[in-house]
Symmetry: C2
Subunit: 217 residues, 2 copies
């Protein structure tokens, strides 16, 4: 826990539990990565993946975040946030209305990964993060593709987790009032895989895509 | 279009169309807001709402973002990003694999809203953003609640939109290869509303919650 990961509000349940953070990071398909450009904040969506206590991001070598990496130490200050939305909390009072969600905010200095073996691990994890089993049923990057891909590593050391669950918490004077209260559950829905229009006849859907779901969901 | 909203990559379709940006902002339930704290980036999830060409955020007056507002002009540099995930694009090659999504990145200086009438409009829009019709079936904030709530306005002037749609785009040498390719559709699923455990008997679910859906979805 550091000053920037210390909760200033108590409404959500804040935790620093590593297992909880890892589970949320693994379930979330995308993250939002924040960085500073000429003193101003920038936030972009991207895919992440975790390997142990390390978070990996990847992107084109030409993408803004990766062009800003310090040439001396190969690093850049980033903040990676993932949010899983679980429900709309509709209280009788608008003030108590909120959302149920699970989020992780990770702070730290991302570093370009230059080691070939670690780059391979990271890209493998990213493929598997989106679709477990897919690395065995797709073509891995060739030398040209790998050269065009940058990988950033962020150690999962400085992070906070917020988990907001449960029912509306209206004051007694509102509970006896005229308004409905409750929760609308929210989750991601994955449709049946749609084959590419140019898919050759005889190529079957791989087993790992038969019933796509996120881990933990 | 400004340097920081000018696309550096062509894979996704970048647009600066205001109607497209507004539709994505309206459909997205939450945004991720980035700001700078002591030179480092911070990214937090929050609820937003749009009124014309203005984006509103709100929060406790004690929340980190709002405590950082400049006391002189009531402003703070922020970046607000929303992302709607539409599909997993599983190409034969891992390099061409990606996601279908729609995102908006808004840059600018947020300003605390002090005008009472504008604060009411903003909070009304935020309630209606999450659940259209809800403002009429819930209790609006009282003086104490409103005093504890800060509202930030961000003009929707400097923004960019990325829309990535369609099928995997594998090279011909991969199309004739052994791997399956296609898209797994992704969308939010809203469950049937769950009444609060302490809901008084006789209070019916409001009509506007009978078939919850996001606008445009």
């Amino acid at each position: 826990m550091t000053p920037r990961t210390t909760a200033t509000r108590l409404r959500e349940k804040v935790t620093y539990d590593e297992a909880v953070a890892h589970a949320i990071l693994d379930e979330a398909l995308v993250c939002h990565v924040g960085f500073v450009v000429d003193g101003s904040p920038r936030v972009l969506p991207t895919i992440h993946a975790r390997a142990g206590s390390t978070l990996y991001l990847h992107g084109s070598t030409g993408t803004p975040l990766l062009r800003l990496v310090d040439p001396v130490d190969g690093g850049i200050e980033i903040c990676v946030t993932v949010t899983l939305l679980d429900g709309l909390v509709l209280a009788r009072s608008q003030f108590e209305s909120s959302m149920n969600y699970r989020s992780v905010v990770v702070h730290g200095r991302g570093h370009l990964v230059t080691d070939h073996a670690e780059r391979e691990v990271a890209l493998h994890r990213i493929v598997e993060h989106v679709s477990p089993g897919r690395s065995a049923t797709s073509r891995a990057g060739n030398a040209r593709e790998l050269a065009a891909t940058a990988v950033l590593r962020l150690d999962l050391v400085e992070f906070s987790v917020k988990v907001s669950t449960g029912e509306p918490e209206d004051a007694p004077s509102d509970v006896t009032g005229p308004h409905w209260a409750g929760v609308v559950p929210v989750a991601l829905r994955f449709g049946a895989p749609i084959p590419a229009g140019d898919l050759a006849t005889g190529i079957e859907l791989p087993d790992h895509l038969l019933d796509y779901a996120r881990p933990g969901a």
